[in-house]
């Protein structure tokens, strides 16, 4: 008799395959959503430009940063939560559950697929925001790590929102509430908030990437703050992914 060894498909191959396999759904279900998410952020930018165009540069940078990363939250959190909840409700997790793959790699494959799909909306929103609010583009490259780490964090939260609840309706609600929270954190500049509320907001992991990108869009970025915030966001995202992977394993054995 042959002994059963614990051999998994390599993580990179798993992520790449799940990513590719899910592209069809992301395109079919997400195409319209990406347009809606982008238009929503662009509309918010135009609105805030109309009522706050003379605000300080920090406030303007915060708005552009928040609107840009809201697109990521819309796709990677809200849409992914709904997709995974539907998959779970339809018994689709059985397929992945009986493959020799690591749960975290499957979850990461879903996250990267949906996050990648948000890229055009992120680029368009950032470009439009910078043009509308007259911000410097010198350090715009920070958008790349900020979008990546927010994709991991929001994707992890999306996976958790989709896999943990027992009912798909709860997952959809969690996705919507998450998006609302990101919009609240991202689109209200911290300046006018009371000190205690600004401190609470700054401590929320959802704000790390937004504040890091906002700082990079000012003439004198706080590089230490940016590094710490991006690192903190990545660590928070890793924790979210780990918890989501655990929820995935739990969901398999329901």
């Amino acid at each position: 008799m042959t002994s059963t060894s614990r051999s998994f498909t390599p993580v990179t191959a798993t992520i790449a395959t799940v990513h590719t396999a899910q592209l069809g759904r992301a395109r079919a279900g997400g195409g319209a959503v990406v347009i809606v998410a982008t238009l929503q952020s662009l509309a918010i930018l135009a609105l805030l430009r109309g009522i706050g165009g003379t605000a300080g540069q920090e406030a303007r940078a915060a708005v552009v940063s928040g609107a840009t990363l809201t697109v990521v939250a819309f796709i990677a959190w809200n849409l992914l939560a709904q997709r995974l909840a539907a998959l779970k409700a339809g018994g689709g997790l059985d397929y992945y559950g009986t493959l020799p793959v690591r749960p975290a790699a499957v979850v990461l494959g879903f996250c990267t697929c949906y996050a990648t799909f948000a890229v055009p909306g992120v680029v368009l929103t950032a470009a439009a925001g910078i043009a509308l609010f007259g911000l410097p583009v010198t350090h715009l490259w920070v958008l790349v790590p900020a979008a990546l780490s927010s994709a991991v964090a929001f994707g992890g939260l999306g996976a958790l929102s989709g896999l943990a609840p027992t009912r798909p309706e709860t997952a959809a609600l969690a996705g919507q509430l998450g998006l609302t929270a990101v919009m609240f954190v991202g689109l209200i500049p911290p300046g006018p908030l009371p000190d205690w509320l600004a401190a609470v907001r700054a401590a929320m992991p959802l704000a790390y990437d937004i504040d890091a990108l906002a700082s990079a869009l000012t003439p004198h970025p706080d590089w230490t703050g940016i590094t710490l915030r991006l690192t903190g966001s990545a660590a928070f995202g890793a924790c979210c992914l780990a918890v989501a992977a655990r929820s995935y394993r739990t969901a398999l054995n329901h």
């Binding site: 059963t4 191959a13 396999a21 339809g90 059985d94 397929y95 009986t98 020799p100 690591r102």
Partner: protein, 328 residues
């Protein structure tokens, strides 16, 4: 003319025959329904050998799918163990996955993909290289006659075509144990034959196949051994031939009446099923011959439209097992 129906047909299926390697062995598997008073699967044991097609039969709700899900590790049993190729993998799907391919009842995880992507991705996720997965995907699509649908999205296919594509994904990666939940449901005749031929080739290569099917007539010619479940319990486990032997010469007498006959079902003895002037009853051969002679030579003959005598089938075994609780 009363037929006695044997219902205790169990053998000891927990261990394979001496010298024969078991591809999988379930022992005493038990699992309850959530928020339900009774067990979905109650102490079920069986083993499947390499090169064997092992069928799990039973009515809807008998516990077949729950049993398969425990076998592949998706469900952790409340009691009992699962061993695959000698190693215990109870409740450990990822561990079992190194050797098992599972086809669930629906393909909901695959509906977003094209048929080719679904098969190729499954092969990749079972550890094949990209080139190998692509080659194998092409070969499987050709074997199952899916080449024309290769680039169609699964959700746009008919139920039968989608099922066929699902079978292709189960065959990807060439696992030594296939666990298939109703692989031919919804398929047309040609597709069913294609699937059985494909499974037969795997059997010849030494693959063990455990499957659930409701198509008893087909199963009779394909299955090497059969486990019959009733309300979560094993009521029979043996080869189809031996199961039918246990019915010791019972034949099915079917009578079709032109108009109301001058006799009642009770006159025939046995458990007569009466459906719109068509009677069906299982009887010992001698009883059936005597009953038929009486009908053909008596006044009932004028009311008779048609009749047939058929040897016992696996369906008869199933029907008998379904009423086994009462008979006991």
């Amino acid at each position: 003319m009363v037929a006695s129906v044997p219902t205790e047909i169990t053998t000891d299926p927990a261990e394979p025959a001496p010298g024969v390697a078991a591809a999988c062995a379930a022992h005493g598997l038990t699992r309850g329904y959530r928020n339900a008073g009774r067990l979905a699967v109650d102490g079920v044991s069986f083993s499947a050998r390499h090169g064997e097609v092992f069928g799990v039969l039973g009515r809807n709700g008998a516990g077949k799918t729950t049993l398969l899900r425990m076998l592949v590790g998706l469900l952790r049993p409340a009691g009992g163990t699962v061993r695959i190729r000698g190693a215990e993998v109870t409740g450990q799907a990822a561990r079992a996955a190194a050797h098992v391919a599972y086809l669930p009842q629906s393909e909901s995880a695959l509906t977003d993909m094209s048929v080719r992507t679904a098969v190729e991705a499954t092969a990749r996720l079972r550890g094949l290289s990209r080139a190998h997965a692509r080659r194998q995907s092409g070969a499987l699509l050709a074997e199952l006659g899916l080449e024309d649908l290769a680039d169609a999205r699964m959700e746009r296919l008919s139920g039968g075509q989608r099922r066929l594509a699902g079978v292709a994904t189960a065959l990807a990666g060439q696992r030594p144990l296939l666990v298939l939940d109703e692989p031919t449901t919804g398929l047309d005749l040609d597709s069913r034959r294609t699937v059985w031929r494909a499974l037969d080739r795997r059997r010849a290569d030494g693959t063990a196949i455990v499957l659930v099917t409701h198509n008893v007539l087909e199963a009779e010619s394909v299955l090497d051994r059969v486990l019959v479940l009733h309300q979560g319990r094993t009521v029979a486990c043996d080869t189809p031939a031996r199961l039918k032997e246990r019915f010791g010469g019972l034949v099915r007498l079917q009578l079709s009446w032109r108009h109301t006959p001058p006799l009642t079902p009770a006159d025939l003895g046995g458990d007569v099923r009466d459906h719109e002037n068509r009677w069906s009853v299982r009887l010992p051969v001698e009883d059936a011959r005597r009953t038929l002679t009486e009908i053909l030579s008596g006044p009932a003959y004028t009311a008779l439209d048609d009749f047939s005598l058929t040897p016992p089938s696996l369906e008869d075994v199933l029907l008998s097992c379904d009423t086994g609780e009462e008979a006991r």
